[in-house]
């Protein structure tokens, strides 16, 4: 259990936007306070990057931003121990030897890494590094061991109905049927509105944080293309017959029906009737 276990999950859909807003504010607040010993931004960007090779840059970025938790050569830190690298945080993090390019690319491009402390929940954020830095770090982590490359999904022309079938089977339990996200106990499930096809494919294979990961045996590359096609489609469903109201199911629809229509009806009654004037 993490330190924020007291966060009680609420009904899905009911306060999705509020929860997202709160989590954004909380994560911003967390990021605003850099760990002691780190530069104000909390992120180390080496100087004179132009003169460095990609590998050299990756190595320097890793040492400055990642090694405190993932170990000096990416060997990981199983048990928490006072850090000897950048910052004075108590480091703890997984072994990165053999994760390949897929995991660092996902975590860095979605701004989920680096974390301020090991217990923090990785959540989507604007990337902390520029494109070249991300490529350098990804290449460096990939060079630590033999691992999978970055996937190249091809959603174009894939069957949406097949994608829907697969998405409901494997993903909708947590991400909701049109990818609006939700909760599992102890964390929230991200909305898929901003995920690029590459990030979707990476997440399926990596299984970030509490998400299960799916091998090519569980979900073939071909099926994954259909899932990506469906997720892209789900951002703009047709909404035949009415407004989507956030696409988060019957709860907001019922609230609209009761709150809005109920108030209108009471208002009409008030307009229609008149008070008997007692003489």
């Amino acid at each position: 259990m993490s330190g924020k276990a007291s966060e009680i999950p609420r009904a899905p859909g009911f306060t999705c936007a509020t929860a997202v807003a709160i989590s954004v504010v909380v994560s911003l607040a967390l990021l605003a306070q850099p760990a002691p010993g780190q530069p104000p931004s909390g992120i180390v960007h080496p100087k004179n990057q132009r003169g460095m090779s990609l590998h050299e840059l990756g190595e320097q970025l890793f040492a400055g931003n990642c090694a405190s938790c993932h170990g000096s050569v990416g060997q990981g830190i199983e048990n928490p121990r006072p850090n000897t690298g950048a910052g004075n945080t108590t480091g703890q993090g997984p072994d990165l030897r053999g994760v390949g390019a897929i995991a660092p690319d996902f975590y860095l491009r979605t701004g989920r890494m680096p974390l301020t402390s090991p217990g923090e929940k990785p959540e989507r954020h604007a990337p902390f590094f520029n494109d070249r830095e991300i490529r350098a770090l990804t290449a460096y982590v990939a060079s630590l061991g033999k691992g999978p490359p970055i996937p190249r999904p091809r959603p174009h022309g894939q069957s949406l109905s097949r994608g829907l079938d697969l998405f409901t089977d494997h993903c909708a339990g947590c991400h909701q049927v049109v990818g609006e996200g939700g909760y599992v106990t102890d964390t929230n499930v991200p909305v898929l509105d901003h995920a690029t096809p590459r990030e979707i494919a990476e997440a399926v294979r990596v299984g970030p944080y509490l998400m299960p990961s799916f091998s090519k045996r569980d979900i073939t590359d071909h099926d994954l293309n259909a899932i990506v096609a469906y997720v892209r489609h789900s951002r703009h469903p047709t909404d035949a017959g009415g407004l989507g109201i956030g696409h988060i199911g019957p709860v907001p629809e019922g609230m609209v029906a009761w709150a809005v229509a109920g108030f209108v009806l009471v208002g009409v009654c008030a307009v229609l009737g008149s008070r008997l004037r007692k003489s």
């Binding site: 703890q92 102890d186 299984g207 299960p212 799916f214």
Partner: protein, 331 residues
């Protein structure tokens, strides 16, 4: 003069006659000037204009509805709804304004007569007694009427039995799982032990059984055997660390469709099944015990075995009744 000319003349004659009759009728029907019953009210041309404008607006919306429907413009059912809704809203507003501002109204009060006149009451009692004087077997009649009433009342209540098994709860214990029954996926392909990875979870059904049967769907996961801490007597229920539980939440019967699987366990919450309805959370490694949420009892576990061909089979039935708790089921 030809035939047509004569016919025309005859038609004209008939029309003038009908006109004369109409005039006469109107004359007799027209009321004489009588004393007013309703008090005279001030004319209010502004409100009249408002009502007329609203009515015209309603007509416009209605015409818009027809146009949108006929044009089938972008198949926008919302626009159709908006048009007809607008028409009704304007019509209603016009009627409200007309009734409140244009129709002359007055408030009248009338005293009610006193309730309960003693002489009248005596009369009624006498009438009731006398109308019953022909009946000789009064008690018998009363009993029959009571029986009819009671039976009808019972007939109204009895269909409530359809809501659920009340006395016969046997069907709630039904499970299609037997020792040796194979686990298959949605399409009926058998699951092999090697298909089950330890990074995700799988939904399985009993072979050749309707998937809609309450106890049919199960969730299957693989955990590291060292982590297993199953209740006593279940030592051989999880071959190779593969576990199976009912997919029906023991709280309200939703499908347990969420599985949280930490990528880096030391800094993450433990692996668990989570029900998306009310967030009951179950630990697969300890026999489906409840670690969070409103569920009152563990997820029923299904013992597994691996046959010689490597296929997963049930090694028996569930550890307890499947689905939400009911009378008599507490653990």
């Amino acid at each position: 003069m030809g035939f047509i000319g004569r016919a025309f003349l005859r038609l004209l004659h008939a029309l003038s006659k009908a006109f004369a009759v109409l005039i006469a009728l109107l004359h007799t029907v027209r009321p004489r000037r009588r004393q007013r019953i309703v008090a005279e009210g001030e004319p209010s041309p502004r409100w009249e204009l408002a009502v007329i404008a609203l009515l015209v607006g309603a007509a416009c919306f209605a015409v818009m509805f027809i146009v949108i429907y006929a044009a089938d413009w972008r198949r926008q059912t919302q626009l159709l709804g908006l048009a007809i809704g607008g028409a009704f809203a304007l019509l209603a507003t016009a009627l409200i304004i007309a009734s409140k501002q244009l129709v002359v109204s007055e408030e009248l009060e009338e005293e009610y007569p006193e309730v309960g006149d003693p002489a009248e009451q005596l009369n009624v009692t006498q009438i009731v007694t006398e109308t019953g004087s022909r009946m000789t077997r009064k008690r018998f009649l009363k009993g029959a009427a009571g029986a009819a009433g009671a039976a009808l009342g019972a007939a109204l209540i009895v269909p409530a039995a359809s809501i659920g098994p009340v006395l016969d709860t046997e069907s709630l214990y039904y499970s299609p799982w037997r020792r040796g029954r194979r686990l298959v996926d949605e399409e009926g392909r058998p699951y092999r032990a090697t298909d089950i990875s330890n990074t995700t979870f799988y939904t399985a059904y009993p072979e050749n059984v309707d998937h809609e049967v309450l106890a049919a769907p199960i969730v299957v996961v693989r955990v590291v055997p060292d982590r297993l801490d199953l209740p006593p007597g279940r030592d051989d229920w999880a071959p190779e660390g593969i576990l199976a539980y009912s997919k029906v939440c023991t709280h309200a019967g939703c499908a347990v469709s969420e599985y949280r699987k930490p990528l880096f366990p030391p800094t993450s919450p433990q692996p668990a099944f989570v029900c998306p309805c009310h967030y009951s959370t179950f630990d697969p490694a300890t026999g489906g015990s409840v670690i969070y949420g409103p569920a009152g009892r563990n997820l029923p576990q299904l013992p597994l075995m691996i046959d010689d061909a490597g296929d997963l089979r049930a090694a028996g039935d569930f550890s307890g009744p499947v689905g939400p708790s009911f009378w008599g089921v507490r653990s």
